[in-house]
Symmetry: D3
Subunit: 241 residues, 6 copies
């Protein structure tokens, strides 16, 4: 590879990852997750109600919202609250985070309550959705611990851990954990979400320029598996597990 | 497999596919695509203007919108125009169709004009987004032919064909082209978009229940490749190529 | 008259009318109505609830929504769902269809349920609102038959039939059932809705250019009466009555 | 007729009508129109620009907006500005007022400017749309006089006068100029707009309960013609013509 | 002071103030308040329900909405209902009116019902928010009298009167009750709301150009106290107290 | 005073204030301001364009937007972007911040460009608007330094400094810099904005319960003056001035 990554990072290396718990004081779980310069605040709120489609079901709900501060990015973006609607991109990302979280929850054990995950990007440098999923899991874990400590539930509804990473094909080289300039330049961009036990939860690959081959896809998926294993270890370490 | 599909369809068989060109009379390309009971009207409109980010670039634009008639589904859904906003699902799908189409277009050769693809579901029975992509390509091809016949362009901006199919893992069996009851029941659902030359454009796999393994993913992708080859042949036949 | 209509149609002749029942498979009533090139899909959905102002009244409700596919027209119109609001024209038309349908329903006999009529224009060539009313009646009739067959009601709430036609004054000649180019050119445009027993339900005349005289109004209303008698016969024939 | 109208009004009598010019001081034309207890403030504003579809045409535009103060009615209605959208009824009415006004304007003589009519109901007791049209004409006339006085135009673009009235069939009796309790009780409600030279501009009849017959329609239209003649005289008197 | 006010008004003089009760007939309280050319219609509606946060509390609620007719101003403003949202200015003003009214109400004595105050500006010439508060109090008083007369309450929930005035610093001179041209030109603009017993309810001072000094602030507040004492007397006189 | 403040804070003492510059890396000015547990991220963005009302004027513009992360508060609030509109409170606050900033800018010296201040509350504990103003000034100062360093302007458009504080009357005691529980309990709440040279820019006092007296107002204003002097010193220190 002739392309040199920032800080001479290896093609299969994560950026420095930090998971700071208890970042804000009101939320039941509050985690600042950093993938290099990408910083996402993940707050988990416990609410003693469920959306209409779950009322009376005995089951809970886990959902997510995603936002980006207007100047989280290189140039300022319009504030979605001022425009009066969330972009398609925002909705796609928050639906992805929500599905990823629900995949590791036993909603019966959660009981009729909601864990609402708010993932707000304070600073963006590529990979905000994968950082959000990785951090949201830790925040959700803290919210579950709070529920257990409060005696509201007696058994954890968490069945597994979950983390996510992006991979991409840049000038023929598969790269792990793309930062913004890499993301803009790459031909194929893939986001992968996996559980602690190694199953795939979501896999979204998109050809930005040229279509990608089966062999490229296999290489990218393999790279993502490696990266997610590392993230799962960092989550356990942050949670003291 | 103990599960029997409708009309004894094989696990790797498409539903009957029909591509009816010139379905409505005003659009430059107008195709009704049917995947079994799923019916999507794909209209391609040529507009002699481009969105702001392309103005003065000498390049054109290809984009898509997706809609579902309120009673296309088993039970009636609210009309998005009456609710005053498009759902996250609608926006995800129309962004997917737009990216898939742009992947086979040379926007320079198109010139500063837009091909707008409207994919409206008249009847839904699973696979509306993959039918929409498959049909939209044929409608786009007709719109390109119209541009050539009108002398507005002298060379086709289409670099390749594109088609899409869904695959899913139902009780351990990989199935091609899911109909609605299969889609609701399956553990993993994957939508795959490929070009005529065999490259992947989009690949979106989602675990609905259990996470899926690498081996399952490989089986699903292989099945999709087969299905898309069949769809590409049907597109060529419909276009008389 | 020196003006020659398409296909040498007579000034008092309808365009070829087709009423295709069971056009889609999910709705309790589903009719594609064609007035020449104008094609409107009318789906009737039965919903076991009523709007707030009817709750607890023992009476049902009948209402309608109207939409136009973006490329139903000669040049593409913006999608109302994407714009986030329905135009004044759309609202006027759907209110007209709803009132026309309610006029032939005994809401007490319907019971506390709603018949929702969705009229979506697939292709437009003038007269979409009158085609919609004419087709919606047939779809509503099928939905009522379904309610009777299901044993949900024991007596039909339909008191009468209803149909509608446009008439217009073009260069001094009264014309029945205007197609788009006639509609654009005419001085006065009138939409008339009548019941099977010959009563008027709605009458909306608008001078586009010059104001119209009482004598012109009388001629137009007479022409509309004739056209609606023909439509009522076609409805009975389509329903096998 | 056993039914006795308020203040023993005759079946073919208007309520007391008042047209107060110069009701507010900023607008180029400002008229408070009263049909009995119905009070509508009609302001005409001259704006030196036209909407996009008229730009560069050399022609002007005349348009209207309609609103109702929240407590203009017996019970308070929600404020449309707070709800964030205008109702279908509001849009229907303002489109009707706009069309009625444009019918008596020569848009070429107006020049590339807009006369914007704002009709706001201060107090409602039936007939707000017909009062609005009748008052808006006087306000528009004052705005035209202002344009002439300013030397912005040299010839009046007004081709004719225009006024409107409601009529209805109540228990078999045709009544002129319905007040609210009559409007609520009547079987058929018709709004008629006519020019000073006796032509019809708009005619909208709606059966609220039973459908109406041709004979009833004729009686109602005749009654409206009489009422409008009276209104036209009152307009001329108010304008000192 | 070299600056001469309209009609040679003194720096500490109010414009002619008029409070016309029973201005419209449906509302439980209806007052047209005029501060010179500024005219605001204040309607008080009694509604036998409370917003969610007061349900079951045994307490009532008092709230306000504010609007401006499009041509109340020198040049026409867009209609908020047509734009689909209320401006920040509108929301600020209606929140201010609501807080000011609640300050003089004992919500327990009101009982679980709402007094809704609609303040609509018919003509604007500066000071619309202070006129609105001054008039809304009189309308609220009439609504309370209606509640007492109806026997719905046996004791008045009004604890005090409330009125408001604007003051401003124009070229070094403190002026009472600014009209529009003074408001546009002044350096500091202050709105003051006070009760009958001389307490401050709201005080909002804004430097438009230069920041203002403590001494200027004191002068302005003193001037406002004087003006409000006069307004309170006019309210009592209008109410016959 | 029997009331004891958190950490035994004096009635006239600020909470610990921290101003952290360069908190995020993309914005031209980025300051995290903390007033105790209240944390607001203030980003200043330079944009080389102005809003329509300033185009061609040779002057620039300074404006602000305000937001609150959904779980910045004790219980989660709905996300404004998801609700599709900003609350009245949000709009009031961002208009206040904008006016306060413009008061210390010479818009001519800024040139035709905009400084956009985004104040986003990461954690709320009372005083978010005053913290936002205090921090936004430092961020604006950094943005101005960036403009000078880039050579885009040669002279600073900042005429003065600006800071803000809240004061309140709690059980008869005037308190400086209210935290959330104090703010909820106090009778009178006042926000004061002052310049470095001691002038008032904004003064907003609101009686939450009982009206306040002139003497109380004087005490509160005096307390605010003291607090703002302290904040101005902390700003200078943070900026190294």
């Amino acid at each position: 590879m002739t392309f040199v990554r920032t800080d001479a990072r290896g093609a299969d290396a994560l950026r420095p990852v930090r998971l700071t718990r208890h970042y804000t004081k009101h939320a039941e779980g509050s985690v600042l997750v950093e993938f290099g310069h990408t910083k996402v605040l993940c707050n988990a709120s416990v609410e003693e109600r469920v959306p209409p489609h779950k009322r009376g079901s005995g089951e809970g709900w886990v959902t997510a919202e995603y936002g980006m501060l207007p100047r989280a990015t290189h140039t300022r973006s319009d504030r979605e609250a001022a425009k009066g609607k969330q972009s398609g991109r925002t909705q796609e990302i928050q639906r992805l985070i929500g599905r990823s979280m629900r995949c590791v929850f036993d909603l019966k054990l959660l009981g009729e309550r909601t864990i609402q995950l708010d993932c707000d990007v304070l600073q963006a440098d590529g990979g905000t959705r994968t950082a959000a999923i990785t951090g949201a899991y830790v925040a959700a874990h803290d919210a579950v611990s709070w529920l257990l400590a409060q005696g509201k539930i007696s058994q954890s509804p968490l069945k597994d851990a979950v983390a996510a990473i992006s991979v991409g094909m840049l000038k023929g080289t598969p790269l792990l954990d793309l930062e913004y300039i890499e993301d803009s330049a790459c031909d194929t961009d893939m986001n992968v979400v996996m559980t602690g036990s190694g199953g795939f939860v979501e896999l979204q690959g998109t050809a930005e320029g040229e279509a990608f081959t089966r062999a490229q896809m296999d290489a990218l998926v393999g790279l993502a598996e490696k990266g997610i294993r590392d993230l799962l270890a960092l989550q356990r370490q942050a949670l003291g597990l």
